[in-house]
Every structure is written in C-alpha cells, then in structure tokens.
Amino acid sequence: MYNDDRRLDADAAPDERVTSLLEAASAPTEPGPVRGELEALAAFRASHAPTSRKSPVSALLTSARVTVGAAVGALLLTGGVGAAAASGSLPGAAQDTASEWLSKVGVSVPSARDRSKPHGDRRDDSGEAEAPAGTAPDSRGEEISGLARDSGASGADKGAAISGLASDGRSRAGERGVSRGHAGRAHDGHRHKGHDGHRHKDHDGGHGDDGERRIDDERSARGGKVGDDAWETPDELPDGDARSSAPSITPDEDREAFSPDAETTDEDRESDGSADPESRP
C-alpha cells in the first residue's frame, strides 16, 4: 500500500529498510472473507431486517388508524352537536349559532330564543300566527269559543255543553246532579267557564285539537282536587253565576282577568305545562 509518491513530510525519505517494513505492514490480504466479516454482516442484516423495513408500512397503518379514528370522532361529535341542536338542548349562544348555521343548509332547528320563550308568550304567538307544524287547524276551537260566548245558554248546562264539545263527548259534566256540598266554593263559575272560554279563544282558535287536549288536561290537573265538584255539580250552581256573564267578557278583559299574574294558580301553571303541545309526544 505504501507508495513512493506518498512522500514523507520530513526532509529525508525513509531508507529502504523502512520502506520494506511499511510495505509489509500494508500488504494486501488474501482474497475472500476477512476476520470479523460474519459479525459485521450480521449487524448489517439486523439493521436491514424485514421488521425494520416494514416500519414505514406500520407507520402508515398507524397513521391511517389515527385518521380514521379522528374522522369517526369528528362524525360522532358533529352528530351529537347536531342532535343536541335539533332538540334545542345546546346552551343559548351555541344553540343560536347552530340554528343560524344549520338554517343556511336548509335544516331548521329551534334557536335559544324560541326555546326560552315563556309559555304564555308562545301561547299568544301560536294564537296569532300560523299553527305549529304537525298541528292541523280545524274549526273545533272556534266552535267551542263561540259556544262559550253564546249568551243563549248559561249555567251548568252551558258548561256541560262546552265540556262535551271540547272533549268530543267524553266529558261527564252535567250528567250527574248530585251535589257534594262544595259547589258554591269550588264552582267558581266565572273562573271555570271563563277560563275555558279564554283558552278556547286564545288556544283553540289556532289549533282546535290542542284546545281539546288542554281542556282535558286541565280537568285532570284541576279536577283531581276540586274539579269534581266544579264539573259535576252544575245543577246546584246559583242562577246569575258569574258563568252566565262569561260570554260578555271582552277579549281584553278576559286576557287581563286570566293573565298568569292575575288569577292563574299553581295548578293552572301545572296544567299549562302538562298541556304544552311541544311537550306532548
């Protein structure tokens, strides 16, 4: 290996003996394997083992799993938020945002304002605006309301007629004439009849079926306590009871008289809540 052109950097070239020595020290080896070759080759094979070459594939699979997992997670999250938005269960601002965004793609979900609107307001809106989706308007409400305003009838008969009409004949009001002794107290004719009339006017004018259910629900809510007497002792009501003047109540008076702040009792509120059309199946 030693060559003369690889001269030493000193002032004198090595003598012949040194040159011979260096040639011997750098003599080429015999062709073929050299010591340590198997060990080095084993290390080389280990570093290029199939497992290490599969690592890119493994990394790719891992990446794909992560991507699929993220996509599924995003779908679940989006679906959950969408479902919550559709049911109006999101917090106020989020519900408003979801309603706004979804409305752009043609999906209608309630906004937070719609969800949080008081029942009374909604009731008023429903009376003045179009009927909610799924509620077919018919003339029953108007019919009941007209009957309530009709001055040709009065007393328990009128109440029974209204109840019968509203309940589609299922009401038993007026069928029994047995007083239970509390008619005077419980049978607040004005309140009873007028209340119904009020509901007929405000509710049933918009959706009659709803008005019918409201009356039934109200009866079940109130009658369980004092309503039995109120509905079942019409004959003992005194003439000239406030019920007879119910039809003469103007809509404004009616609204004022039966505003939640005025006379609506806790039972009424419970009844209203149970009769909420949006809470019904």
């Binding site: 030493l8 020290a25 750098s26 080896t29």
Partner: protein, 198 residues
C-alpha cells in the same frame, strides 16, 4: 484497497445490498484490524466489532468519497478503542523504542538485507514499539492509506503535528532497523523532539 464504483456500492449498501456492504467492509477491515491490534492489542477484534455495529447504524447518514469513508470508519474505531481502554482501565502496552533497542540483541528480528521481506506481523510489531502518537500516525498514513488531512481528522490533531509524529516514527523505525548507527539516529530524534512544537 480501492473500491471500484464506490458511490454505487455505497448507495447499494444503504439500500440493504449485502454484497455492496461486504465490498466496502473488505476495503477497510484489514487495515483497521492492523491499526487496532497494533494500538489496542487484545482489544482489537472486540473494538472492530463495535466499530462495524456503529458504522452500520450510521451508514444511512454517511455521505462522501472513499477517502472520507475510510477516515469515518477509522474515526469511529479510534473512539471505540478509547472507550474500551477506559472501560477496562487498561492502556495498551506502549513500549519505548529506546528500551527495545537497548535490550534487543543486535541484528535479531531484523532482515539483514533489503531484499529480505518482513512479515506483516513482524512489521506491525516493530511499529507497535513506537510511542503511541507516532505509531498511530505511521499506521494511518502508511497502512490505512490516509493522507495528512484525514489522519489529522481521525487523531483530532493539527496536520502539522501529524507530519511530525509520522516523521519521528519513521526515524525511529529506521534506527531500529539500523542499529549500527543508532547513536546518530538517536541524536537526530532527540533534536527533533526538542525543536518541534506540538
């Protein structure tokens, strides 16, 4: 040993071609073992094995020509040798050339004529009698075939220091081989030692 188509072999070895790797290995391993056995003694083969493990691990990152390849392998080997020596708390037995000359009978183990051939082992044994820095410089320059710059890289020294160490080693070898004028040779070596700034 010059590898034909070194870059092609290197690229193939990086891609897992065992034949290419073996060719690269054989181009370095004989000189590497001679260097390690001369400097590290019995540690040579273990250190060589560790060296090639490191080379294989770092092969993907290496780039350069054949001289750079050889220098890279020797740099790793020297580092592993130093680690092994520290780990075993055992330094190689460096024999002072002067002591050898004084204890050795004249003419023994030295070819009487230029035509006589040294065996490789005998030549390495004589080089091993040099001080370590001189022996390393001589081995890397004249056995491994590295130029001064590459040798300086491996030894982490300045090129000037490599030149001086190599010169002093050759002068000592010459004296070993010429015991008749050992007085003059020794005088020359001492003069060089006194004037050279390492």
């Amino acid at each position: 040993v010059v590898v034909s188509g070194f870059q092609e072999r290197l690229t193939a070895a990086k891609e897992g071609d065992e034949g290419a790797f073996v060719e690269l290995f054989r181009s370095v391993q004989p000189a590497l073992l001679r260097y390690l056995s001369t400097i590290g003694g019995s540690l040579a083969e273990d250190v060589a094995g560790e060296t090639w493990v490191s080379v294989v691990r770092g092969l993907e990152r290496f780039s350069g020509d054949e001289a750079g390849w050889r220098a890279w392998v020797f740099t790793i080997a020297r580092a592993r040798l130093v680690d092994a020596q520290r780990r075993l708390s055992r330094m190689p037995d460096t024999v002072d050339a002067q002591e050898v000359l004084e204890s050795r009978p004249d003419g023994v183990d030295v070819p009487a004529h230029v035509e006589e051939l040294f065996s490789t082992e005998a030549a390495l044994a004589l080089i091993g009698r040099l001080p370590t820095d001189q022996a390393e410089a001589v081995l890397l320059r004249h056995v491994a075939g590295l130029d001064v710059a590459r040798t300086a890289e491996v030894l982490d020294k300045r090129p000037g220091a490599v030149r001086v160490a190599a010169h002093r080693g050759l002068r000592r070898l010459s004296k070993l081989l010429s015991p008749s004028d050992d007085e003059a040779s020794e005088q020359g070596c001492n003069e060089i030692d006194a004037t050279i700034d390492y």
